[in-house]
Assembly symmetry: C2
Homo-oligomer: 461 residues x 2
């Protein structure tokens, strides 16, 4: 097996050539949402196939109903080496508004930024620069005797349009793709420019719409108001009772499967330089709401929510209408953590609503999809090894962070391939992904490649 | 003063001529909302001026920003006679859809209905037939020595479009029009075909819109959900707390000025053949909601309400959007009774909302108008006299009824002229006003004229 020190030296010695390859990939305008760029997406996929083949790996571009998916396989020298799947995406967001770019979005250039040199181009951070940190780490291993892990590569071209072809592709190639025991995903951020991060928790999401109906039609609020039940009142009382005075969700069984964060992780989060006041102030707010006694970061990363995303009923236009409405509705969504069961949560909501319907009020329910939370157990050995590897590279412990939203790809890996994901990325919060003048720090790029070299070595034991 | 028995005989003897005059007026298509019929509105006003002048009264058609208003004055023979103002409207609703009429809407014809003969035409019931009951009563008095009361006539031509010119007209002619001490309004219904009714209570109405805002903009419910206050939740809790478990409004001071119905009136209402089950069933309902222990009729006629006419916030379209909204709003209206002060009620709502705003949630209020309830005191001597007069004509006591809605004209009489109104009308619930084949019972017409003859005599004492 390759000597890690030599691999890191190789990365350092060849960093300019690595940047040159990144620039080549960034020059391809692989905008996935715009059919005008379909050929460019194919070109980017072909470029990646060539890059992997250039390293001596098996690689091919496979057609999907949308843009092609690149699959590659690389064998470690050691027969008992672990097997990982690396995921990245070669597609990018549209570049417009073009006039806000300092230079052409597909003509990458390097400039000095506040955290050192950075490369400016659409896709520099999301996700071509990140993807290439891993490829360049592999290249350095190949120059030093080969990889310490078996690696399956999976590069898709539809992440920016919601990965419509990916679930079907995973299912179709389940046998081939489920050989690895862990997915490595490089599409997330550092905690800050000096502190790497591993995303270990993604909240789940469950949707339910509730429509209450009472009278057979809207009525005049003067001629009928009083003895006729108003579904807006009923719905409001239900919504108003979904949280108690402490901000906790009152649905029976809601907190089943919601774990408390281990003390050491909680301590680590408190140690992060998260400025709650600045976070709130940027939103025009001053005060942490929600569950009393829990901070903003903990709530977003590790606590479930019951949120009304929309409410409607009666007359919603300008001015007044003296209507006693026949109907009112609300769109509920739940962010889920731990082992909360999405279906149980929705059923608990339905039971809660039904139990609060007065005579003559009927409820209709419609579900809009549900998926549970995803997390890498804090006790997982892969997590410990990756964390140690990152600490060696960066000189500080990696933050173990959560993500309040869901990342559908990670859900698909878990669901279809039965595989956990280790989410490590080197993007910075000011990378302006999806915006004009997107950039990627060259420190992220260089130390990102070194980080992956260390993580692969650590995972191999 | 004329002998009442002779007056009634005159009405009976001339009923065919009376019908003939009603038919003449019904032939004029005085549709107020359609500019194509402006000349017809003027023609109807002119017809009424001629009718009053034909009785020897002063009458003239006066221009307004809209259709003309007819003012007439008639002197009683007795110098100390009371002075009343009679209100009616000569304008009608559009007749369409024309194809649903059995005969042309402005070519009146008489047919046999379930309650006897009836005349079918647009405006037959609303309000030309009703208006003419009073004019024909006056005519019979003139044939028998003159009126027992001084009468001011006020016929407007914009009732069906919300009487936009009336308030200004009343203000402009306040001195002339405020001489009478009581308004007689003939634009309401009988309790049923055998039981006359006097409408003695109209609920008031106050509107207030409340918009709550929290964060400076809509947020992603995954990336921010938990520590960020959701204005839909706050608004729902407020609305949900506006009524207690007994259905009573919880706003402090709300029931100040809400009288209990006198025992004899309550007993009279219980004696009415109101079929609560049929009333609810027609609306797809089975159960009286609202204030526990109070019937539907009592609630609509004599109890105040706090109603949300509309609610809105966040994403209201099809499907889902994982939005944590920055804004939510509700349109409130209050139906008021007794001496409830609309401004105090709205201020109580505003205070109630403000007291329930968590940190970072702001409320904006906008009022959309307010007017108090109107009622003729149950103890008023005019009411007793009119009721006795109706009982003599119909052989049963007149029902003293309420109206859940407001009648803006009556509010204007009270506000601008300081005048109470005695609302007596002979329409039936199945008159199909505003609909094709509108009709007026010829019994209503004939006994209506006789009723007014008796009421005028009774008011004169």
């Amino acid at each position: 097996m390759a000597n890690l020190a030599s691999v890191l030296s190789t990365i350092d010695a060849n960093i300019d050539a690595s940047k040159g390859r990144l620039v080549e990939l960034l020059r391809i305008p692989s905008v996935s949402t715009d059919p005008a760029y379909t050929k460019e997406c194919e070109r980017a996929a072909g470029w990646l196939v060539a890059a992997l083949e250039g390293l001596g790996y098996f690689a091919e571009s496979r057609a999907t109903p949308g843009h092609p998916i690149v699959v590659g396989h690389a064998k470690a020298k050691r027969p008992d080496a672990p097997h990982v799947l690396f995921y990245g995406h070669y597609d990018v967001q549209p570049a417009d508004p073009l006039e806000l770019w300092e230079t052409s979005p597909f003509d990458p250039h390097v400039r000095r930024g506040k955290d050192g040199e950075e490369i400016v181009a659409r896709g520099a951070s999301d996700d071509k620069g990140q993807l290439m940190t891993f490829v360049e780490a592999c290249r350095a291993y190949e120059a030093n005797g080969g990889l310490p892990c078996n690696v399956t590569f999976l590069f898709e071209g539809e992440e920016e349009t919601g990965s419509p072809s990916l679930p079907g592709f995973l299912a179709k190639h389940r046998q081939e793709l489920s050989e690895p025991s862990l997915a490595l995903v490089c599409d997330t951020s550092m905690w800050n420019a000096k502190t790497p991060a591993i995303t270990v928790m993604l909240r789940g999401l469950a949707h339910e719409e509730v429509v209450l109906t009472a009278a057979s039609h809207d009525l005049h609020s003067g001629m009928f108001g009083g003895p006729i039940v108003n579904p807006i009142h009923v719905l409001s009382k239900i919504i108003g009772n979904l949280h108690d005075a402490e901000g906790r969700v009152t649905l029976p069984g809601f907190y089943e499967g919601v774990p408390e964060i281990p003390a050491d992780v909680a301590a680590q989060w408190r140690g992060l330089d998260f400025d709650e006041t600045a976070f709130l102030s940027a939103l025009g707010l001053t005060t942490v709401a929600g569950e009393r006694g829990r901070g903003a970061l903990e709530q977003i990363w590790a606590r479930p929510t019951c949120e009304v995303n929309g409410v409607y009923g009666g007359y919603m236009g300008k001015g007044t209408k003296t209507v006693l409405p026949a109907k009112a509705g609300a769109k509920f969504s739940f962010r889920l953590v731990g082992t909360q069961d999405p279906e149980k949560v929705l059923e608990s909501l339905r039971a809660f609503v039904r139990a609060r319907l007065p005579a003559d009020v009927k409820a209709e329910f419609s579900s809009h999809g549900a998926s549970g939370a995803l997390s890498l157990p804090f006790s997982s050995p892969e997590l410990s090894r990756a964390r140690a590897a990152l600490a060696e590279e960066w000189g500080v412990d990696a933050a173990l962070v959560g993500c309040g939203g869901s990342i559908p790809i990670v859900g698909a890996f878990k669901e279809t391939l039965g595989m956990d994901a280790l989410m490590i990325g080197f993007a910075l919060d000011d990378d302006r992904i999806h915006s004009p003048n997107e950039k990627y720090s060259l420190t992220s790029f260089h130390k990102g490649a070194r980080s992956w070299a260390r993580v692969l070595a650590a995972l191999a034991g």
